[in-house]
């Protein structure tokens, strides 16, 4: 039986695997270090390549100084909480609506015909284009900002859920029915768990796009928020602060996407085993 030898061979694996993991982490860290070094050289020597120039790009050290200033001024926390609450608000709404609609559309041809065409029409509209309408539709600017991040996160989640539901192996459903599962049980016991990996991929991408829309959202109004801080720094020509804002958004987006993926693999332990096989 081949699987007996499989399990035997995994015993010696952890040591090798952790060495391999450390190597990879090192390579990844050096990649970031190299990028910073290139940025440093390009900005301090004010490289001008004709089509792109680094003459006005602040060098890393100035950015670090600006970051320190932001921290010491004590406003960082209010910027962070303002942005986090907007992104999480929009994202939570998008996750609820996207997953629910996606499940309905994926399971029913009728719902698909009724709902998918208008959604397909709205999908290509970029977040910026929503600003005027968002201001007109929502009485509070806070809500309109939440709405903008919502539109950013909704479509990746919706489409991934539809795809996840539609690609459930029909043999699994046939087996479940032959084992006595009725409509409702097929949905709960088979369709949901089978679609879950796809849904989580959408949730993780949606988290990224919610942050992606943050600057756009915070262009609307406000005095706090990292997107607002970035945009305001540009209007007052405070270039190092722009880069601080950009990097903060990058870090937060990356971190929260990773958190969603972590949650996904904690909820779906079988996934890691299948990935290992391929």
């Amino acid at each position: 039986m081949s699987s007996l030898t499989d399990t035997a061979s995994t015993v010696s694996e952890p040591a090798a695997a952790s060495r391999h993991d450390r190597h990879r982490a090192l390579r990844r860290a050096s990649s970031i270090a190299l990028c910073i070094l290139a940025w440093h050289l390009a900005s301090t020597f004010r490289i001008d390549l004709g089509i792109v120039t680094f003459q006005n790009v602040p060098p890393p050290l100035e950015v670090v100084a600006a970051a320190r200033e932001l921290i010491e001024s004590g406003t960082l926390l209010s910027h962070l909480t303002a942005s986090l609450s907007r992104v999480l608000g929009g994202y939570t709404g998008a996750a609820a609506v996207g997953v629910a609609l996606g499940l309905l559309i994926g399971r029913s041809r009728g719902v698909e015909d009724a709902l998918l065409p208008p959604l397909e029409l709205l999908r290509p509209i970029p977040a910026v284009a929503w600003i005027p309408l968002a201001i007109l539709m929502f009485p509070s600017s806070e809500l309109s900002m939440v709405f903008i991040t919502f539109t950013g996160a909704l479509f990746p989640i919706l489409l991934a859920t539809i795809h996840g539901v539609e690609s459930v192996d029909s043999r699994l459903i046939a087996s479940a029915r032959s084992l006595g599962a009725r409509r409702h049980a097929v949905f709960i016991e088979v369709v949901l768990p089978a679609a879950a990996p796809g849904i989580f991929t959408g949730l993780s991408i949606g988290m990224g796009t919610a942050w992606f829309c943050l600057v756009t959202a915070e262009m609307i109004a406000g005095q706090f928020g990292i997107g607002y801080y970035t945009w305001a720094s540009y209007t007052i020509q405070n270039y190092p602060d722009i880069v601080v804002g950009m990097l903060l958004i990058g870090l937060l987006g990356m971190g929260s996407s990773a958190a969603i993926r972590k949650l996904g693999s904690a909820l779906m332990p079988w996934q890691a085993l299948e990935a290992k096989k391929t």
């Binding site: 039986m1 007996l4 084992l179 079988w270």
Partner: protein, 277 residues
């Protein structure tokens, strides 16, 4: 795992198929996959459907399982018409359909969960069936951690937990290596000799059909029709040595002839100088 010396005769699981035709495809592409099949199967009988690939065996089995609608004709199990899938008719495919997100024990217990039976009783019964197929140590593994043969054993245990009157098996060992396949055939016979459920078993492997079956139903290429029924009367319990006996070889020849009939018009032999008369 010895079978009871005289297992009681089965009383349930009679299958009656009358003038069954099944159409597949839509519109212009529609065609008859199974044509005018009539077949009676006794309770507790082990029947193998043998036929070339594409002849409609899976289609016939899918209809028996209740996943496909018959075009015309009539299928009954214990006098009741088949109207949809039912746990009394367990289904096993060539490639396992275990739920990847459930551990082995929960996969096996799935049928009882659908009947609303409590967790404790479910796992106890699942445990008993895993013992039966020799996999109790693997109860907390996920399906992807098992080999192909083990996955099919779990699949069989999962069907058995519903105490099916009929087991429908669609080339269940077709993807296994020769040695594992022999082991699985032996295991299946051991189980069947103790529980005596009706088994309809699809294969295109003649040795497998002869080793397992009470009766072999040979089907023609598409559209599938029954062209011959062969009673296989080797004594049970059967052991691997059976396949080297003369009686076995004789029946095997018969099956080979049915599946690959000698062409009436032999092709002319080609030579560089033209056709040799």
């Amino acid at each position: 795992m010895r079978p009871a010396p005289h297992s009681p005769p089965a009383v349930a699981g009679r299958i009656d198929i009358r003038n069954l035709s099944i159409r597949l495809g839509q519109g212009r592409q529609a065609f008859e996959a199974v044509q005018n099949v009539s077949l009676g199967i006794e309770p507790g009988e082990f029947v193998c459907l043998l036929g070339p690939s594409g002849c409609g065996k899976s289609t016939l089995l899918g209809t028996l399982a209740g996943h496909l609608q018959p075009g015309s004709g009539d299928i009954r199990v214990d006098a009741l018409p088949v109207e949809g899938p039912h746990p009394e008719r367990g289904l096993v495919f060539q490639h396992h359909t275990l739920f990847p997100w459930l551990k082995v024990v929960d996969n096996v217990a799935f049928g009882m969960k659908m009947r609303g039976i409590g967790r404790q009783e479910r796992s106890r019964e699942a445990q008993r069936l895993l013992d039966r197929v020799g996999l109790s140590e693997f109860r907390h593994h996920y399906p992807s951690q098992l080999s192909g043969g083990m996955q099919q054993r779990v699949e069989i245990a999962r069907v058995l937990i519903n105490q099916p009157k009929v087991m429908l098996m669609d080339e269940p060992f077709g993807a296994l290596d020769a040695q594992t396949r022999m082991m699985m055939q032996q295991l299946l016979l051991d189980i069947w000799e103790s529980i005596r459920t009706t088994i309809v078993f699809i294969t295109h492997d003649i040795d497998e059909a002869l080793f397992l079956a009470d009766r072999i139903i040979v089907m023609s290429p598409r559209p599938g029709r029954i062209i011959e029924q062969i009673a296989v009367e080797f004594a049970r319990p059967r052991r691997a040595e059976l396949i080297t006996t003369d009686g076995f070889t004789r029946l095997k020849h018969r099956c080979l002839e049915l599946l690959h009939p000698k062409s009436n018009h032999p092709l002319p032999r080609l030579s560089p100088l033209g056709t040799v008369p």
